[in-house]
Symmetry: C2
Subunit: 230 residues, 2 copies
């Protein structure tokens, strides 16, 4: 089957940077390409946009197809567009313009499963990445920057999104790890606790962790509304 146009059309793909925090380090989901170009190389999960689907929809579909991250696992999680990348020559096959997305998944919930087109799917520590296919190193760097921007000194309207790294019920220490990992800076415990309680409404679940060889920690849940920026 062939598709014919009066003018040349570029191909359009999506690619998604799926971030998580594993053992206190920022990780990204990558797939090993099972087909040329860049066969055997690691890449962001993504693929061609369907003609009837929205860009974000296509990105989610590809996540399921290539990395086994189902729409179910993504439901309720933030999904941001990073931007379009369209330098001529970024794909050796033909002109391909890709629209990149960013998502944040909880530290404890998502397992990757390779499938269509992907030989493997794995989590990589962000500061220990393999060589990436296409211009994905570029895209990933911009995704990382967008992640940082979410929690830069004045909080963006989307700052709540970073709580997606946490399980539904979390301790303040876990929350601190998330903010430290994203900003890359160590935070002072007492200041952090004051600050997070000033900016978010945290519901004290009146429960404690258990099992650790140490004092149990109080569990919280992100409450109704973010308090305010500033």
């Amino acid at each position: 089957m062939a598709y014919t146009y009066d003018y040349p059309h570029p191909a359009v793909t999506t690619d998604t940077a799926v971030f998580s925090i594993i053992e206190g380090r920022l990780h990204v989901a990558l797939i090993e390409r099972g087909a040329p170009p860049f066969k055997g190389c690691w890449a962001l999960p993504g693929g061609f946009v369907g003609m009837e689907e929205d860009l974000a929809e296509g990105a989610r579909r590809e996540l399921a197809e290539e990395a086994g991250v189902t729409p179910d696992q993504l439901s309720g999680l933030p999904f941001f567009q990073i931007g379009a990348f369209g330098a001529p020559g970024r794909d050796p096959r033909e002109r391909v313009i890709t629209v990149a997305f960013l998502t944040l998944v909880p530290m404890d919930r998502v397992t990757l499963v390779a499938s269509t087109d992907a030989a493997r799917a794995e989590w990589f520590a962000y500061d220990d990445l393999p060589a990436l296919a296409f211009d994905h190193a570029d895209i990933l760097a911009q995704a990382r920057a967008a992640l940082s921007r979410l929690v830069s000194t004045d909080l963006s309207a989307d700052a709540d999104a970073v709580f997606s790294f946490l399980p539904e019920e979390f301790t303040l220490s876990q929350a601190q790890t998330v903010f430290e990992t994203i900003t890359g800076a160590a935070l002072e415990k007492r200041n952090f606790r004051k600050w997070i309680k000033a900016h978010w409404e945290l519901e004290d679940l009146q429960k404690k962790t258990s099992g650790g060889r140490h004092r149990p920690a109080a569990l919280f849940r992100l409450g109704g509304a973010r308090r305010q920026a500033g």
Copy 2:
């Protein structure tokens, strides 16, 4: 001449929101469409991306072609990508994905000239816009939000860009107008002067305006490096 592909390909366009500040009000450059669809409707200047040109390059070419804003006039001015817009059905002809850009031009320098495909090209006050073609109202709203974000309480790395609204030599009152127009909030004069001098290095040109029926104002130029965020 026809172009044939194994898979259907969407068309890709660019659209640019060109902002300026005219008589203390934020304005946008729009063109009146001279051809269907949406003939006679106002729209952001833009058009199809060439197969060998980068996205931003294509956007600038279209600005020249449709609105008479030459690469020359744009040189040195910021040019930011807002994002890709690709809802199926946003263009009645075929699937069209557009990549939107944002630029800021000086209050005193750019005249619009309609040409290719555009019946007219004009500046419109942002808060007095006509109905727009396609999803351009949407795109424009996101461009406006990006403009605000440039100068939100903690300054983005790109905050210098707002000086592009000013002539090379400007008074502090003009600068205040720019920041007030972007944020939509009235600023207190003494505080603003302290603040801008704390965040930017302004070179005092040791010159004064003249001709006004009032005290002359000192002229400044944006100095070398931005001081720092915070």
